[in-house]
Symmetry: C2
Subunit: 201 residues, 2 copies
């Protein structure tokens, strides 16, 4: 803004909101105005929630999940099957898989994928911790649920190599047609995989 039309505190709020993923400079202004208008219903509680989250948030030293306790809610949940670990790239993937409610297992967050071009090596990921968990025993199966990208697959292979000789079953997510997906719009690789892995009706 050329001339000042509002207070520096509000400009600062807009500036920081614009850094939140999903908000740009324009929507940050809209968001800030909305927050300011709903001062006591939204801005206040949100401010408190942020202060609280900032104070309490922890990265789980066992699985890498984000929580306010360490070990996290997943690692300490006695109703889960901790002999099966789903390996994911990111906490968002853990939450997404958990929303399906399909499994009731433990997780392990790598914190990314191997990517030599970006300077991400094995030591930058939480792979050592994963191997330790498997070595300690009591892990029956490892489901490697990384993204189906080149980096993801490289990471999956690297992990498999690291666990060579250990008594653990290593699996990965099935490739195939997304539920509700239209064949016409799918790439050749997915279609080929779906054909190869066809199942009896």
């Amino acid at each position: 803004m050329a001339k000042r039309v509002t207070g520096p505190e509000i400009e600062k709020l807009i500036q920081l909101l614009a850094k939140v993923p999903g908000l740009g400079p324009r929507s940050a202004r809209r968001a800030a105005l909305h927050l300011v208008k709903k001062k006591d219903q939204l801005l206040g509680p949100l401010a408190d929630a942020m202060v609280e989250a900032h104070r309490k948030v922890r990265i789980c030293s066992c699985c890498g999940n984000v929580d306010t306790s360490d070990p996290c809610s997943v690692c300490t949940d006695a109703r889960r099957d901790h002999s099966c670990i789903i390996v994911v790239e990111d906490v968002a993937d853990l939450w997404a898989l958990e929303r399906t409610g399909a499994m009731n297992t433990a997780y392990h967050v790598l914190g990314g994928t191997l990517s030599p071009l970006d300077g991400v090596g094995p030591d930058d990921l939480n792979i050592r911790g994963l191997v330790d968990r498997v070595v300690k025993g009591e892990v029956r199966e490892l489901i490697i649920a990384v993204n189906a990208t080149v980096e993801g697959q490289t990471t999956a292979h690297y992990i498999t190599d690291q666990l060579d000789g250990l008594d653990v079953r290593i699996t990965r997510l099935a490739h195939g047609v997304p539920v509700g997906g239209e064949l016409d719009y799918l790439d050749d690789g997915t279609l080929t995989a779906a054909l190869r892995a066809r199942t009896a009706i």
Copy 2:
């Protein structure tokens, strides 16, 4: 989420972020994770900015702008021409007009438009304050810059009626073809208005 995968403080943060315009439940989760990952670079400063904004934000008692001082930065800016007031529906419109840098005037925020169906009458808007400002004198021109909707135009007419007999020039924004706009995509009303208000090249 079916089972708890993260702390209640983080779930609370996601819940509140989802109420911010521009963010939905899915992007709120993504935003929360990003904030938590950038705990000290983003979450902390944003929390502070919100606490500060919540503590300091004021609605200008003169023009209705949002600021941290009352009267606001616009009303107290001696370099502005306070004999010309641009009347807008919302603070967002004030900021948008101010970004153009086209005018160097005072503003007046109505806080909405007359809308009998939604139960918004003249007393729900900041119209009394506007009339007072004009009655006090020293206002030469009022530019009514409300949206070109039925409610906006009704509000403009109502304000004009209220100021009947006072020595002030009342104008409104020109209708016409948006800069960069294609005629083919414009509605008949806009094209008719643009033709009627044609100017010499």
